[in-house]
Amino acid sequence: MFINYEHENHVYKVTIERRQENFFVTYDNTEYRVSVDEIQQGHLKITIGDRIIKSIVTEGDKEKFVFIDGSVFKVKPVELTGRTKKRKKEAGEHDLDSPISGKVIQVKVKKGDKVKTGDIILVIEAMKMEYLIRAPFNGLITKVNFKEKDQIEIGQKTVEISKK
């Protein structure tokens, strides 16, 4: 089985094969012969010679999580061909995305407004805290995607700005 894991923008290519009682994992030209005991769902005890790896693995909707040696790693699925599908965003444009799911409590701009770098565009409230969306560059508001009291989800774009 070939598997690719993406972590912090790096792709790790691994193969794993089961032969009788053992698994053979290959990564970076090294083969590890391991025996495995799944103690509870996702709780792994993996023996490599004298060494024992104890880890917990689980999967969410979009990612997998590994707990090992006191640290958590979040790994994303790799879509080899899908890589270039996303339009490369303008520098700073990401700053217009909502950093959190919450409620829009103030919209400071309307279509056609001119804005300067650092101007407050929109205020989002989540978990009783406020988050300000500011203009990442000078420009003209071309579209406002939310109005006050709207629910907004993490990653949704608040407004569109054309650079002047």
């Binding site: 089985m1 070939f2 598997i3 690719n4 894991y5 972590h7 912090e8 790096h10 790790y12 691994v14 193969t15 794993i16 089961r18 698994f23 994992v25 990564y27 590890y32 391991v34 495995v36 996702g42 792994l44 993996i46 790896i53 880890s55 917990i56 693995v57 689980t58 999967e59 969410g60 997998k64 999580f65 590994v66 707990f67 090992i68 040696d69 006191g70 640290s71 958590v72 790693f73 790994v75 699925p77 790799v78 879509e79 080899l80 061909t81 899908g82 950093p99 959190i100 799911s101 919450g102 409590i105 103030q106 409230e125 989540a126 978990m127 009783k128 805290m129 406020e130 988050y131 300000l132």
Partner: protein
């Protein structure tokens, strides 16, 4: 003692109070919104009543709804926990009028202490030192800016009704002043329904040190020593400890007496906390009094052996405080970490999601006050604190070692938490030395990011083994039949490659 208590809260504090009640033989009624259907306080309480709509104002802040439930369930008292309605004098008043005992001080005291300006004036009058600032009634932006300039920079803008960092802004230069005042007012209005703010001098090398007090309804007041809560991010405490590494026996004696005096002067009853700022020269200033059980109360419980939640219930039910000041002593060292669903790499932004795996550290003198269970969903409606991790040891060094061990054995998968960040704080040399001012996080963790960037090979092996064990049989068969060197396969429900 009460027969039945309604707990007007959620999360770890509701669980904490339910346990205290149950041990005292008190029947408990939990309330819960639709976002908390399977929350631990719901499963633990003897009865649980649904509040519907998760919006705070429609659920945990809805006074008429809560009073009605308490009456229907024939609760003789309500414990408000902290946050939500804990420091709302109208709620305390409404409880009392409905013949239900509010577990906390009188509405008048809550009201006085809730108004930070009036509180400071009262303390000044009682001879307790306060920080220079403007606590006046000129609340138009222009006047506030004028007063601010007079105090000088840096200064703090704080919501009069605030707490927990909400409605608080630190202003470093004159140019930020107006915007900060506006934003603090807005946040205060939406959180507390009141937009009065005040301004005060920002101290050098300040530490946040507070004293726990207990007062019964017969005039007996004791303090249970200090907690240092200087380690804060976004003006919210994340690590607390007791005793404070900077405290001297003389200062402790002095501040403890000031705290008791403060409580006595205002006719305080039940558990409360007097917060001070202590500067680099060990000058101390009254900050505010919190008229409730604090988040960080467990470290006082660990060092003094006193159960504060149970004493709240006893005092409210009219029992006398049998603990004498001379019987209370500190022993060893305790620390608390607040475990938040937040991303420290990304400005401590709250995170949401489902708790897929949960394993809490256990061991001698490790206490976890938790508000989550496996499979719970962490919603964006409420404060993102998941739990509190508390450790006790014979001394500060051992306590740090135990906390580091416990953090390394705390498994929360599915939601980003601040555990890795906390571990690095405990690993910081200045922290180890006790150099813990309120600027600590800004000074040492401003641009913090997780240092370990690469995925360790043991994690890769674990993932591969997991996927191999959990891929559906058909998929493995399909895979085996195909060219073993082609990566165009499906693994589990993940697409490992496209192209077919």
């Amino acid at each position: 003692m009460f027969k039945k208590v309604l707990i007007a809260n959620r999360g770890e504090i509701a669980v904490r109070i339910i346990k205290a009640c149950q041990e005292l033989g008190i029947h408990t009624v939990a309330i819960y919104s639709d976002a908390d259907l399977n929350a631990p306080h719901v499963l633990l309480a003897d009865e649980a009543v649904n509040l519907g709509d998760p919006t705070p104002i429609e659920s945990y802040l809805n006074i008429p709804k809560i009073i009605k439930i308490a009456q229907e369930k024939k609760a003789d008292a309500i414990h408000p926990g902290y946050g939500f309605l804990a420091e709302n004098p109208d709620f305390a008043e409404t409880c009392n009028k409905a013949g239900i005992k509010f577990i906390g001080p009188s509405p008048e005291v809550i009201s006085l202490m809730g108004d930070k300006i009036a509180a400071k004036k009262a303390m000044e009058a009682a001879g307790v030192p306060v920080i220079p600032g403007y606590h006046g009634t000129d609340q138009d932006n222009e006047s506030l800016v004028k007063h601010g300039k007079k105090i000088g920079f840096p200064l703090l803008v704080k919501a009069a009704a605030g707490g927990g960092g909400k409605g608080m802004r630190i202003v470093k230069t004159e140019s930020q002043l107006l915007e900060s005042i506006e934003s603090a007012k807005r946040e205060s209005k939406s959180s507390f329904g009141n937009d009065t703010v005040f301004l005060e001098k920002y101290l050098e090398k300040p530490r946040h040190i507070e004293f726990q007090i207990l007062a019964d309804e017969y005039g007996n007041v004791i303090h249970l020593f200090e907690r240092e809560c200087s380690i804060q991010r976004r003006h919210q405490k994340i690590i607390e400890e007791s005793p404070s590494p900077v405290m001297t026996p003389e200062l402790r004696e002095q501040m403890g007496r000031a705290a008791v005096t403060a409580a006595q002067k205002v006719g305080y009853t039940n558990a409360g906390t007097v917060e001070f700022m202590v500067d680099g020269f060990l000058n101390y200033y009254f900050m505010e009094m919190n008229t409730r059980l604090q988040v960080e109360h467990p470290i006082t419980e660990m060092t003094t052996g006193v159960d504060l939640a149970k004493w709240q219930l006893r005092i409210a039910s009219g029992e006398q405080l049998t603990l004498k000041q001379e019987d209370i002593f500190q022993r060893g060292h305790a620390m608390e970490c607040r475990i938040y669903a937040e991303d420290p790499k990304n400005g401590f932004l709250p995170s949401v999601g489902t708790i897929l795996k949960l394993e809490e550290p256990t061991g001698p003198n490790i206490r976890v006050d938790s508000g989550i269970l496996a499979d719970n969903h962490v919603s964006p409606y409420y404060d993102p604190m998941l739990s509190k991790l508390i450790t006790y040891a014979e001394n500060r060094t051992e306590c740090i070692n135990k906390m580091t061990w416990a953090l390394s054995h705390y498994v929360i998968l599915g939601v980003t938490s601040n555990i890795t960040f906390l571990k690095e704080v405990f690993n910081n040399h200045e922290f180890e030395k006790g150099n813990t001012t309120t600027h600590f996080i800004d000074n040492y963790f401003k641009e913090w990011t997780i240092t370990k960037k690469t995925l360790p090979v043991d994690a890769l092996i674990s993932l591969a083994v997991y996927d191999s064990l959990h891929s559906k049989k058909e998929e493995i068969v399909r895979y085996k039949e195909a060219d073993p060197h082609s990566p165009w396969k499906h693994v589990g429900r993940w697409r490992v490659s496209g192209g077919e």
